[in-house]
């Protein structure tokens, strides 16, 4: 370690409201949000069915009368069916990260963008960012909310941004050295790649001025934190967000690094059992559900994130009164995050169905042997797809590879196996074997 210490600093007073004031603020803002979503056909119908009006909201208990929103609902209203303002009010659009299929589009008014930058400024400040620092942003800039979200958060704090975007590792390290960068923003897996490059090129720790990093965009572990901190000699902070809710800035760690403070003046969080939809007791893991309280362009009611984590309502040493969420430990659906890209097994199935003669029996194995995600898709052959010609068999593999790449944007190893050798499932299929979890 380089001995860098982050002193506790709070960005704004909304992070430290007494619980009764926070509850009153949330209730008033929930009422406003319910009124605002009256313009969105999906919510107008759902609220009508549930018999809820803005006026009938009297306390936070009324939240449970509101309908859930799922990813499928957002897909059904692609691209802008969930917009609650006129298009001319929209200042920027982003999209869900990932695949080459249709993304989920999200929209921001000018006020939303200011609000979002403020939320990012909060966790960045909590995690060490000071106006005199320079921050290298190695998140992708584009539809993905990570790059731009953090960019404006850093500017809001008054620090300087080096918007390198993702990729080109040698250039990242060159700038990190030459510009004597203080802080890094990227995914934890990209940090590993950067660290590996530093080690391979014998760059001495003393040549770097890097003090800390803010990681997000994918789940990671305490073990990984320990490893990156030891290798790079920096402090690593975790933050969380998703485009459907706002992007990064939903929550982030403070100097205590013991859970991520959720900006509760901006979001109401629930933690539910994904089967029964009932709340789970504090400290127990469940699916996180968020309701936005300040968003104008695309307010969202009870969005089911599918992310599994626990909530900790205990007061934190830093003085913030907001509830903290633990690391995301899994998903309540089958989404995989591979090289930072969201992939669903159903997309593999879709790809296989495009290749003539392949059966929809497949299994996905993910490994990270050398710090890079390696995905193997095992596909069962059929009599139709089997050929005695080696050339045709290799072509079959290539066709499957192309189809998977076309849909997911990722290259995977395709392995052909005999029929009936993969597990058959009764009920919910377990098609993904993720060996990375051991790390």
């Amino acid at each position: 370690m380089n001995g860098f210490v982050v002193e506790n600093r709070i960005w704004d007073q909304e992070e430290c409201l007494p619980r009764n004031e926070l509850t009153a603020l949330q209730t008033a803002r929930l009422k406003e949000t319910v009124a605002r979503v009256g313009k969105v056909p999906f919510y107008r119908d759902a609220l009508g069915k549930a018999g809820v009006t803005a006026d009938s909201i009297r306390s936070l208990d009324d939240l449970r009368r509101l309908p859930f929103t799922t990813k499928d609902d957002l897909r059904n209203y692609y691209p802008l069916g969930m917009l609650a303002v006129d298009r001319k009010e929209v200042a920027r659009y982003h999209g869900s990260s990932g695949t080459t299929g249709k993304p989920t589009m999200v929209a921001y008014t000018k006020k939303d963008l200011e609000h979002w930058a403020n939320l990012c400024a909060r966790f960045l400040t909590g995690g060490g960012l000071r106006p005199e620092h320079s921050v290298q942003i190695a998140f992708g800039y584009g539809l993905f909310t990570g790059g731009f979200g953090l960019h404006y958060g850093v500017e809001r704090v008054g620090a300087s941004v080096i918007p390198v975007s993702a990729g080109n590792t040698p250039k990242q390290i060159m700038l990190m050295l030459d510009m004597q960068i203080d802080a890094l923003v990227c995914t934890p897996s990209y940090a590993l790649t950067l660290s590996e490059f530093i080690i391979q090129n014998d760059i001495p720790r003393s040549a770097l001025n890097l003090k800390y990093a803010h990681f997000g965009g994918e789940p990671w572990t305490e073990d990984l934190r320990t490893r990156i901190e030891a290798e790079m000699g920096i402090l690593c902070f975790n933050n969380y967000g998703l485009s459907e809710v706002i992007g990064p800035g939903v929550s982030g760690e403070c100097a205590a690094r013991n859970g991520m403070h959720i900006s509760e003046d901006a979001f109401i969080v629930e933690c539910i059992n994904p089967e029964t939809l009932e709340p789970v007791p504090p400290g127990e893991e469940g699916e996180l559900v968020f309701t936005s309280l300040c968003k104008e362009a695309m307010p969202i009611i009870r969005y089911r994130t599918r992310d599994i984590a626990s909530l900790n309502p205990e007061p934190c040493a830093c003085g913030r009164t907001t509830v903290r969420m633990g690391r995301v430990t899994g998903r309540s659906d089958d989404m995989m995050i591979i090289k930072g890209v969201n992939v669903y097994p159903s997309q593999i199935e879709q790809a296989l169905l495009r290749v003539d003669g392949t059966a929809p029996h497949y299994q996905i194995e993910i490994d990270r042997p050398d710090r890079r995600d390696i995905v193997t898709v095992k596909v069962e052959l059929t009599e139709k797809s089997f050929s005695a010609s080696m050339k045709e068999m290799q072509e079959l593999r290539e066709r499957i590879d192309h189809a998977i790449h076309g849909i997911t944007g990722l290259r995977m190893n395709v392995e052909l196996v005999s029929p009936n050798t993969l597990d058959r499932f009764v009920g919910k299929a377990q098609r993904v074997v993720d060996h990375r979890k051991k790390v």
Binding site: L381, F386, A388, M393, V417, S418, P419
Partner: protein
């Protein structure tokens, strides 16, 4: 004049080939000849068997993928130049060999070459026009048994 080859997909897993051979042996099925093409991941076993239909259903019953493929058998003298002559005929006819394998007949004088060409009908015409000894299936089985 084309004959049937039984092609079987083999995963590169220990014991898979032995399992297949044991299954045929237990059912009294003799392999006349075979060839195995393999990659790192999988292999394709090509079998010449008299009772190919029965062998196919036995294998399928045990979860193998098997398929019947047309091949051409040519009988040549077991001496230098036998294969070269056939390849010359096919090259002149503009046909390529996809794969081939061979075995010698017990009597020791002749060899049987098995071919899969990219254009099987054209290949057969070219061979017959050149007077090559193309075997039909019964002839092949007789040669193998004699």
């Amino acid at each position: 004049m084309k004959l049937k080859q039984l092609s079987v997909f083999l995963e590169n897993k220990p014991g898979r080939l032995r399992e297949l051979c044991a299954l045929l042996a237990d059912n009294g099925i003799n392999i006349i000849t075979l060839s195995l093409a393999d990659t790192e991941q999988f292999g394709i076993l090509r079998l010449i068997i008299k009772e190919y239909e029965r062998a196919k259903s036995l294998l399928e019953g045990k979860g193998f993928v098997a398929k019947l493929t047309d091949v051409i058998a040519v009988e040549v003298k077991d001496e230098p130049g036998g294969l070269s002559r056939i390849l010359q005929i096919e090259q002149e006819a503009g046909i390529s060999v996809e794969y081939m394998y061979a075995f010698t007949i017990k009597s020791g004088e002749n060899a049987v070459l098995l071919f899969r060409f990219d254009d099987m009908d054209k290949a057969l015409d070219a061979l017959q026009a050149s007077g090559m000894g193309v075997l039909h299936s019964l002839e092949l089985y007789q040669r193998a048994e004699s």
